[in-house]
Subunit: 390 residues, 3 copies
Amino acid sequence: MVGVSADASASGATAALREHVERLGLVDHHVHGTWTADADPVRLANALNEADTAPLADPRTAWDTQLGFAVRRWCAPLLDLEPHVAPEAYVARRAELGEEEVARRLLRPTNVDAWFVDTGWSTGLTSPDGLAALGGGTGHEVVRLETLAEQLLPTLDDPSSWAEAFGARVEEAARTSVGFKSVIAYRCGFAVDLAPPAPRAVAEAARRWHAGVVDGRAPRLDDPVLLVAGLYAALRTRRPLQLHVGFGDRDLDLAAVDPLLLTGLLRRDEVRGVPVMLLHCYPYERAAGYLAQAFEEVHLDVGLTTHFLGARGVGAVARSLELAPFHKVLYSSDAAGPAELHHLGARLWRNAVVSVLGGWVEQGEWSAGDAARVATMVGRDNARRVYLDA
Amino acid sequence: MVGVSADASASGATAALREHVERLGLVDHHVHGTWTADADPVRLANALNEADTAPLADPRTAWDTQLGFAVRRWCAPLLDLEPHVAPEAYVARRAELGEEEVARRLLRPTNVDAWFVDTGWSTGLTSPDGLAALGGGTGHEVVRLETLAEQLLPTLDDPSSWAEAFGARVEEAARTSVGFKSVIAYRCGFAVDLAPPAPRAVAEAARRWHAGVVDGRAPRLDDPVLLVAGLYAALRTRRPLQLHVGFGDRDLDLAAVDPLLLTGLLRRDEVRGVPVMLLHCYPYERAAGYLAQAFEEVHLDVGLTTHFLGARGVGAVARSLELAPFHKVLYSSDAAGPAELHHLGARLWRNAVVSVLGGWVEQGEWSAGDAARVATMVGRDNARRVYLDA
Amino acid sequence: MVGVSADASASGATAALREHVERLGLVDHHVHGTWTADADPVRLANALNEADTAPLADPRTAWDTQLGFAVRRWCAPLLDLEPHVAPEAYVARRAELGEEEVARRLLRPTNVDAWFVDTGWSTGLTSPDGLAALGGGTGHEVVRLETLAEQLLPTLDDPSSWAEAFGARVEEAARTSVGFKSVIAYRCGFAVDLAPPAPRAVAEAARRWHAGVVDGRAPRLDDPVLLVAGLYAALRTRRPLQLHVGFGDRDLDLAAVDPLLLTGLLRRDEVRGVPVMLLHCYPYERAAGYLAQAFEEVHLDVGLTTHFLGARGVGAVARSLELAPFHKVLYSSDAAGPAELHHLGARLWRNAVVSVLGGWVEQGEWSAGDAARVATMVGRDNARRVYLDA
């Protein structure tokens, strides 16, 4: 550290950064609604475990996690409880207040100015406008490709025309939404042929899928041919395309959602000029950061990770700031259901940014001005530029 | 960190946590015996290198490692030497004291109450009772499936009956041992078909294997069909099943022992309700933690890693506390041979837990009570519940 | 941390380590030349992005990266500017001074005594002697196998004799160079058959390749058969063999350059006794460290990573000191082009070593003497022993 004189105002610099970061109105570029009905303790406990799709054998165990500890630490005071209060007391107070009041208390302090809501999984969750009504700011829609496809299928007389009909729906959706989201990660993973499928193969796959329609409802879309065709339909609109990457529930194969499996797709001409947003990325943040440096179009966030890792989330934020150019890193919460997740997304991201960037300022590696500027880019301006200015 | 007032008693809290952790009697849920005969310097040096199965070209290089430095730092004082003493002096003092006295001096301060000993690799090593006699506490046996199979084979007249005979042996072993261990990681890795093999395929494989018996000794078991059949035999007993995962010697292919390759197996009905213990896990701690959240049955430890990483082991302990619910994380040393490894397993785990959990308490993320409680769960109670209360 | 008394002279120890590390004359065992002609701002910006092979859409974004911030922090003062100066001012001052003066100012303080220069990619870059003339110390050549092969091909009358002719060239090069370098990572990755190809297959591949010669110039060598044959030709000379591993530009498939894919090759007899140098390794430092412990021949560095990660580079240096024995870890910059990269390679490595090793000394884990000794091994002596004493 030759040449670094100890900065006498180091902690002053961190305090200034903290104030800047707290005041920054965020864009949460990937989020879901909050619960619209009161939740019982078992449902709440299961919501604290992202990965396990089976009901927890002992719901109390969900509280003995980084997320459970973070809820008790950071959310309890907003429900008039002491930090680290016992789970039972927390749950009781929550029931007393009711879901809507809990949401209001937890959402307002997030200081989020814009919520980009994936509406593709919305049963029992607030709409974009509903979320904004509770939390402040404005709600915007992100359209989930697989949901759109599943809604369309039963309405088709001739499934051979699926590609054309779906393309039209996607174009239409592009006019009213800020972007698209794909959960191909959950449906077949990335270790499939990601080249554009031949029209004949798409028509054939659509016919097979259509044969499964019962009572006007489509079976779950999991055919790689149609899923991949969906990605290209979205790419044609030039709107930002969000891709679930990495950590999720156990329905996915974590090894098959390594973002490096997207390298071939990212090299294709169809991707040029279309923002590709890699979501979550845990534990592949470094690979995602490499792709963000390698491809002008690639962006990433560590949403979901921050609240599930609680006290360890700061490391995920730090890893997202290695190879990725800073104009490619975004904030999201990926919260869904209990408003605790929305709150923690913002709270822990702010804490992490102050800790990580502030640390670099204190060590003399970064200037205080750069730290504030990068926090603003990641927390707000990158999302505005990518989604709203395009 | 809005809302966190600097905790004036922060370092007091860490001191209290340290005292709690030091007093905690551990369960070492995966360990091997100590050497029963005095070791010469070359043998000792080779034991300090886990991965290289060839004799070291220059045994002195084994000391210039994190493990070598940790031995000199933490074990030397227990042999009446200064911390960081030169390797030559350490080796000389060790020879002076003899293996048994060294073991006694290094094992007692581990404060381990129960040793779960993998007896499948035991030549020249103390038995569970022998280990407990030197180190205090009680010894328990973990039966290694591959060793059991290799012992059984030469006794069979008709190898076609191997499955049945092996199943009977496993059931018998389940009555006297606390659990089973598989080293399928070393024999064929996880990138094989992990579905239950057909009985005919098992019989066929057993015949092929039996044909290699010479002088009443079985060849090394490395047929995936039999190895996988062995896993299911163990699962049927409902006893905890330990799986070597990740880092080991170079006989294994590290890429083929990524725990994510177990995802398909973990989804199977045969696993429901049977504790699966992922051992070591380096450098796949994050993937193992994800599996521990996704599957009620999955547990993990970072034994072996702590002492081989020395000053860097604290990071491995921290990574094991990300996604995994805290009732799924266990302590082990995986020590084998020189008692330095047993000592360092406990010493460095305690240091890491105080540093990591204490750090969270000081930052206001965790309560002091939670930190002590999680330390107790990981160090002792989770193992008791999984192995002894089942 | 029982038994550790707080070391009153802890920060004194770090200060002494810093002085030792600053004075240490380094061997940069893998580097390229500096630019011989003045660079315009766009070229400079593109050089700050390793991974993206397409011209950056907005060159200003290259400065909003860890590398860009590190250049402004550490290089600006050597051009008489304030730390963290604006990119525009930095670029202007750079143009004012000219490339040669910039190089002189940035290279001298690296305190590098020996530069091992990969001359296989050298257009517009200084030679080993030219680099040494600017930066001090001595220049040595590392011969890139693929470049040698591409130069040889057009001179052959009978491409069937390629193997023999290439072997002769490699033997000749072994007499005047300190070692060989392969970029097979870029040409086909490691997920190919790495066993020695049959002579007939090599002759056949050479004929196919030769058929593409136009105007006396060979097409880019990307046939795995010839690339692998090249590795064995180098191994036969017993000279150190450098392999690009991990992070590089997007021409490579990052998943296909995981060093664990080299495990089978490393187990082969042909490798015994030949130093294999794994370069860069990001984000696979832990896997590389495992291989360095498992195989006597394997060495590693984290060159390239240190400057591209800037403030986060300290973690890469720390990860390189986990499983790898300390006599297997080396320093390199892998700098190429702007002398900022050469400067930052040394500057950030020294900072990281003081921070990481000094931290262990302060925590009482390592002795001050060991820290200085390991810094010397990694920074200088390991390279001398491997390349010069062999």
